[in-house]
């Protein structure tokens, strides 16, 4: 249903309805921004990349085929934009005090400040650790674990075989395990 709605909005945009494109941007703004944020490391760059991704997508909208899913097509454009940004400047380490790393709660303010700080610290550590991964591994993790895509959809976004995406994700998780749990235990036979 969502994909039909996307295709209808794409069709309307191609017919010259700019409001339809605004609806598409509204629909995917948060997901694209989060993908860019985890890929690039800070909110300012994520905002630039998100804007660039939507502008590039608009320019290339005629090349979009409804047989592909709009979300995959848009994420693919976003990942290309992020890789271009990373070529110019690598992942930027984010401060723990940056608002983006604070967990959101329903009330907006966490009822248990020490616990919230602990969660925030953990989130910042994970975010930092993501920044130490190679770009392709970070992209695989961002698509599968953060965007919730299947390996098949992630492969479509990354333009590579499913096995390659799995390999990137497995290596990334192994690296993250090492980075986040430094006390590596020897196996007892």
């Amino acid at each position: 249903m969502e994909f039909d709605a996307d295709d209808r909005l794409v069709h309307q945009t191609l017919a010259g309805d700019l409001k339809a494109y605004g609806a598409l941007v509204d629909r995917y703004r948060k997901r694209v921004y989060n993908l860019a944020y985890r890929m690039l490391g800070d909110r300012e760059r994520a905002e630039d990349a998100t804007q660039e991704a939507f502008i590039r997508a608009y320019r290339g909208l005629r090349s979009y085929r409804p047989s592909a899913r709009f979300a995959s097509w848009l994420f693919s454009t976003t990942s290309h934009v992020c890789i271009d940004h990373l070529r110019r400047r690598p992942f930027a380490a984010v401060s723990i005090d940056e608002p983006g790393v604070r967990p959101a709660t329903a009330e907006g303010i966490d009822a248990d400040p020490p616990a919230a700080y602990g969660r925030t610290e953990t989130q910042a550590q994970v975010h930092h650790a993501l920044g130490r991964l190679p770009d392709t591994q970070r992209l695989a993790i961002a698509l599968v674990h953060l965007q919730g895509l299947s390996y098949e959809d992630a492969a479509e976004v990354m333009g590579c075989p499913v096995g390659t995406v799995k390999s990137h994700a497995h290596r990334a998780r192994t690296t993250l395990k090492r980075l986040l749990t430094p006390q590596f235990q020897e196996c007892v036979p």
Binding site: L18, Y21, G22, V25, D26, R29, K30, V32, Y33, N34, Y37, R38, R43, A46, E47, T50, Q51, F54, I55, Y58, R59, G100, V101, R102, P103, A104, T122, Q123, V126, H127, I141, H145, L146, Y151, K166, A169, H170, R173, T174, L176, K177, L180, T181, Q185, E186, C187, V188, P189
Partner: protein
Amino acid sequence: MTCRRVRAELNRYLDGDLSDERRRGVREHLAACVACAREWEQLRGVAAMLEGLSEVEAPARLTESVLDAVGRERIAEAPRQQALTGLALAGVGLVLSTAIVVSLAGWGPLDLSGWGAWAASLAAAGAKQVAVAAEVAGPVLNALARGRSGPLVWLLAADVAALMAVLAGARRLLSVKRLRGLTNMLAM
């Protein structure tokens, strides 16, 4: 299964990618090996931490800024589209009127092999548009002034107008560098 083998399979175990037999083997090993069970818990913990990462809020102004940028592109694109359409129409007019003039003037069948060079010279003339226009339009205006306004002259005048439109359109659409490239290509 050995510890090495089990650890190599843990990621696929996490993804639910193993066959029933292998999955059972890993499960039994994890139940018996404390160190591998710890490895497994750490890996599960990493996956849980990743999935527990909070989403960040996207700035609301993003939609507006994207639409502003896209709107500017559309405005910039419109004159280019008009110029392209005008250029195409003028080009068609130029070809047709030239063919009629050539046939009416009795200059014989067209030598198509020479059209590449003709087109090259036409493109090269873009930079000297004004001079070319004056040179070509002069005799036509003289003929009109002398009252020799036969169909040939009018067609010549239409031809000149079409030529001017093509050159103006080409100059608008193509940079000097691209025009030179086109000239070289046609001259080959």
